[in-house]
């Protein structure tokens, strides 16, 4: 880990980052071509992390189908399943997978499981203030910082930056914690993966939005927080993470997220109600095709997330009885 630390210092010390290369979209993804006769209204209720992404998809879709109405509400992933079950929303964006209970409730109501669209890839980032010299964290350390149960197996509770090896003025400073509120899918995902299903400490300052976490960390030098990579600003830095002590730390980049090396990479899901015995209505079908098109995936980059590949898109479409050729 020492070596990694030094290499990290050399690379990141001067300029806070080398200019990142533009992210490439899978060239096999098709261009979206509008079809005729699409109108009506769509409503999306769900994740706040995906609020902007849904808005960008909606903007792109509306440019092709001007008379479609799309409304977007984003108060947290947990609001998606009830809205889908009640039929008040056609799409339920979620930043975590539906859990068994939500899936069962859906199945009980409709007799078939909800259909899922893996619309984008997100690397959930652990942010620190831009001046923070920390170079690498293991998931076990992250667990010991955020959790009171320490299921990850770190021997001691971590409360100061000194315990993470920082020196100078940082050594004695307590770590101030920022997180999301419990309705958020980010909260659930982080709890499951980074906290090994443990419990959060009571000191975690729960924020109402992904961007508020970043703003909190930006204004507090000794803070640490977690939020989607899309919300990164110049005032914060995403800490490279390793899944086990002694392993290599990986940056939250697209390559590491797709390869699975970055331990907190996840899909962003959009759930919908697709009856396997019926054809999907044209409006929803086209919206899904749009998400899986080149234009739709460009929007994910625009929002700071990573695009999916054609293979993933084909899997999801096949499961819903759709295909790229249109039907």
């Amino acid at each position: 880990m020492k070596k990694v630390l030094l290499a990290g210092i050399a690379a990141i010390a001067l300029s806070s980052h080398a200019f990142a290369q533009a992210i490439q979209i899978d060239p096999l993804l098709p261009n979206y071509t509008p079809v005729s006769g699409i109108s009506g209204s769509l409503k999306s209720v769900g994740s706040d992390t995906m609020n902007n992404l849904m808005t960008l998809w909606a903007e792109g879709f509306l440019a092709m189908y001007p008379n479609v109405r799309i409304e977007i509400e984003g108060k947290g992933s947990s609001t998606a399943p009830p809205a889908l079950i009640a039929g008040t929303a056609q799409f339920g964006p979620m930043s975590r997978e539906m859990n068994q209970r939500e899936r069962d409730a859906f199945q009980q109501r409709f007799g078939y499981p909800p259909a899922v669209i893996r619309g984008a890839i997100d690397a959930l980032a652990v942010y620190v203030h831009k001046d923070n010299p920390i170079r690498c964290l293991t998931l076990q350390q992250v667990d010991a910082i955020f959790s009171k149960t320490r299921r990850g197996g770190h021997p001691t509770d971590i409360t100061t930056w000194g315990q993470l090896g920082l020196t100078g003025e940082w050594a004695t400073r307590p770590i101030s914690l920022y997180g999301r509120n419990s309705a958020s899918g980010t909260y659930g995902y982080f709890k499951e993966v980074a906290l090994f299903r443990g419990d959060y400490k009571d000191q975690v300052k729960e924020q109402p939005g992904s961007s508020t976490v970043v703003q909190g960390v930006a204004s507090d030098r000794f803070a640490i927080g977690y939020s989607g990579i899309g919300y990164k600003t110049a005032d914060v830095r995403a800490v490279p993470l390793a899944s086990r002590p002694g392993e290599t730390c990986y940056d939250a980049t697209v390559e590491n997220a797709v390869s699975g090396d970055y331990p907190l990479a996840r899909f962003l899901y959009v759930y919908t109600n697709a009856n396997p015995n019926q054809q999907m209505d044209p409006l929803r079908r086209e919206f899904i095709r749009f998400i899986f098109s080149r234009q739709g995936q460009e929007a994910t980059i625009k929002d700071g997330y990573f695009p999916i590949t054609r293979a993933i898109a084909e899997d999801d479409m096949k499961a819903m009885g759709l295909s790229f050729a249109g039907n």
Binding site: E59, P66, S211, T233
Partner: protein, 593 residues
């Protein structure tokens, strides 16, 4: 009250003196003098005056500084800023608008990598250094749009005249140089961004882009609207008539015929749009960022561009004006962080006006009954107390009530009765402008009731008696004598209600405000005003851009500008109401006894 105050004021100095004597120490003459002066001030009520005056001035300073902060930041947002090109010590270049500077303590790890003379310099500065945040733009190339550069990293900083800021339809701003553009299939190299040929080409490309948008939004939108209403008509027929009946067959035939007609029309229009789109995509412009990487995109997707370091005052003023115009009259772009706020502006005004339409009759009628007709007793007192208590209920509670009662219960029943063909997608059964206005009316009705009651009570008894003595009935007295004279006071209540309603956000989030509502609640299709539609609101827009947008740094200026606009809007609405009130006051001033 003054009579009560004086004895107590004089009593306390007496007690003080006896206390001093008992203590045995003789006060020095100077101390005594000061004491007496204090007594005098106290007796005159001076401390109270200072307290009250001080409280007032603190309140004024706080309000003024808040308004000034919003004004300063809001007004400065759209003013063109220069573009700095910074050469870093490692030879790379950074170009961007300097956005703010900060002092920071240089970390040990960073310090160790610096040359000794820089280290000495920082040490001499107490370990601190300055850094500047540059808005570098070019998100599509860099994956970032802001960057901090420390002073010790900077080798040189200049403001080249050919650096251009491009505002784009997508991906945010581009900072770089203009290289060439394509016109009628040939590439024209151009470096001067003010050159006529590029300006003209841009104007044509932009017009074409807007034309495509008009075809897509307005003309195709119309076709889609009629197609949708045909579909609904068929659905309605299918719900009403049994399968196989003559009516249903007729409706089906009609639908097939109409659908074919609109389909043809749609294809015509979309062919026209496609043709224009091809031209639009053929006329590209090549932009070069500071590091030499190129970006080719249609010229029509550039909203505005100017050489940031080569604009005179008048040109700056022009850019400033055109940005404000776009802000006020266009729709949002890029998930609300760019472009205009017309839908939010419209939504706020419409909501506030509707609120007034609902709250005034409710409030005034209640007040008239309470003041003029009801027998003053325990029941009326209880009603009054309840009304006053309503004003203290948290606004989010009204939101919950609004969504539960108005949207789900009332709206759901309306849908089931009148819009069965659209189910399961709700028409009135979800949040919308109407329900939001009613919720806010409930929220503000106590203000209007209390103010109206006071105004009615202030009409002199002699006037009522005079009217009644002339043989007018009670209602005639209220209608022609009391109400006109109470109007200015009632208006005050309405103004207060309006100001409260326009600034309220929390309940709206539940009853119909959305992040993106592509359509205004008013359009060219019957019934023209669509109160069931959800809408955008300036207050929610501020929350959304400030706390929900991808790059909070880029959203910040928009937050200030939107806040400024919201304050200005409330000011305008209040001023209008105040003017009306003053006119009413003048009208009835002459007829007082």
């Amino acid at each position: 009250m003054a009579m009560d105050a004086i004895p107590s004021e004089t009593a306390s100095p007496g007690r003080d003196r006896t206390a001093l004597l008992r203590g045995g120490t003789r006060p020095s003459p100077r101390l005594l003098e000061r004491k007496t002066r204090l007594i005098d001030l106290k007796a005159e009520g001076q401390p109270n005056l200072w307290l009250l005056g001080g409280a007032l001035s603190i309140a004024i300073v706080m309000i003024l500084s808040l308004v000034l902060l919003v004004l300063w930041n809001g007004l400065a947002t759209f003013w063109p800023k220069p573009i700095a090109v910074v050469t870093l010590t490692d030879g790379s270049l950074v170009a961007g608008e300097p956005s703010r500077t900060a002092t920071f303590r240089v970390g040990q790890e960073v310090l160790a990598t610096l040359p000794p003379e820089t280290q000495a310099e920082i040490a001499a500065n107490g370990g601190y250094a300055n850094r500047t945040l540059y808005r570098t733009g070019n998100f599509d190339l860099y994956g970032d749009d802001f960057r901090w550069v420390a002073d010790f990293q900077t080798r040189a900083k200049e403001f080249p005249r050919d650096m251009v800021l491009f505002e784009r339809q997508e991906w945010g701003v581009f900072v770089g140089r203009l290289a060439s553009f394509v016109r009628d299939g040939r590439t024209v190299t151009v470096t001067d961004p003010w050159a006529d040929e590029v300006r003209q080409a841009h104007r044509i490309a932009r017009d074409r882009f807007l034309q495509i948008r008009t075809i897509q939004r307005v003309e195709i939108g119309e076709v889609n609207h009629y197609l949708e209403s045909e579909r609904l008509r068929l659905r309605k027929a299918a719900l009403r008539y049994p399968e196989g009946s003559r009516e249903l067959e007729a409706a089906r035939a009609r639908f097939v015929e109409r659908e074919a007609f609109y389909q043809r029309r749609f294809e015509e229009l979309s062919a026209r749009a496609q043709a224009l789109m091809r031209e639009h995509e053929a006329e590209t412009v090549t932009l070069v960022e500071i590091g030499g990487r190129e970006r080719v995109q249609p010229l029509g997707t550039i909203v505005r561009f100017y050489p940031a370091n080569d604009v005179n005052f008048l040109q700056k003023l022009g850019i400033y004006g055109s940005r404000w115009l776009e802000f006020l009259t266009d729709e949002p772009r890029e998930a609300n962080t760019e472009g205009g706020i017309l839908p939010a502006l419209f939504g706020t005004v419409a909501l506030t006006l509707l609120l007034v339409v609902f709250v005034t009759p409710f409030g005034v009628i209640t007040a008239i009954y309470l003041r003029e007709y009801a027998k003053q007793g325990k029941l009326v007192s209880a009603v009054r107390v309840s009304v006053n208590n309503l004003a203290g209920v948290p606004s989010i509670v009204y939101g919950v009530f609004g969504v539960g009662f108005f949207a789900y219960t009332v709206g759901g029943s309306i849908d089931a009765l009148f819009y069965p063909e659209k189910l399961p997608s709700p028409t009135f059964g979800t949040g919308g402008l109407l329900w939001a206005a009613l919720t806010l009316a409930l929220l503000t009705v106590p203000v209007v009731i209390v103010a109206s009651e006071e105004a009615l009570a202030a009409v002199p008894r002699s006037m009522r008696e005079g009217s009644l003595a002339c043989g007018a009935s009670k209602w005639q007295t209220i209608r022609y004598i009391v109400l006109p004279r109470a109007l200015p006071g009632i208006m005050t209540g309405v103004i207060l209600a309006m100001a409260r309603g326009a600034g309220e956000v929390a309940p709206l989030m539940l009853v119909g405000v959305v992040k993106l509502a592509p359509e205004l609640p008013i359009d060219g299709f019957f019934p023209f005003i669509h109160l069931e539609r959800s809408f955008m609101h300036l207050g929610f827009h501020i929350f959304d851009v400030g706390f929900q947008s991808r790059n909070s740094e880029a959203g910040k200026p928009m937050v200030y500008t939107t806040t400024l606009l919201l304050i200005f809007l409330i000011l305008v609405m209040n001023l209008t109401a105040i003017t009306i009130r003053n006119r009413l006051k003048r009208k009835f001033a002459g007829s007082q006894f």
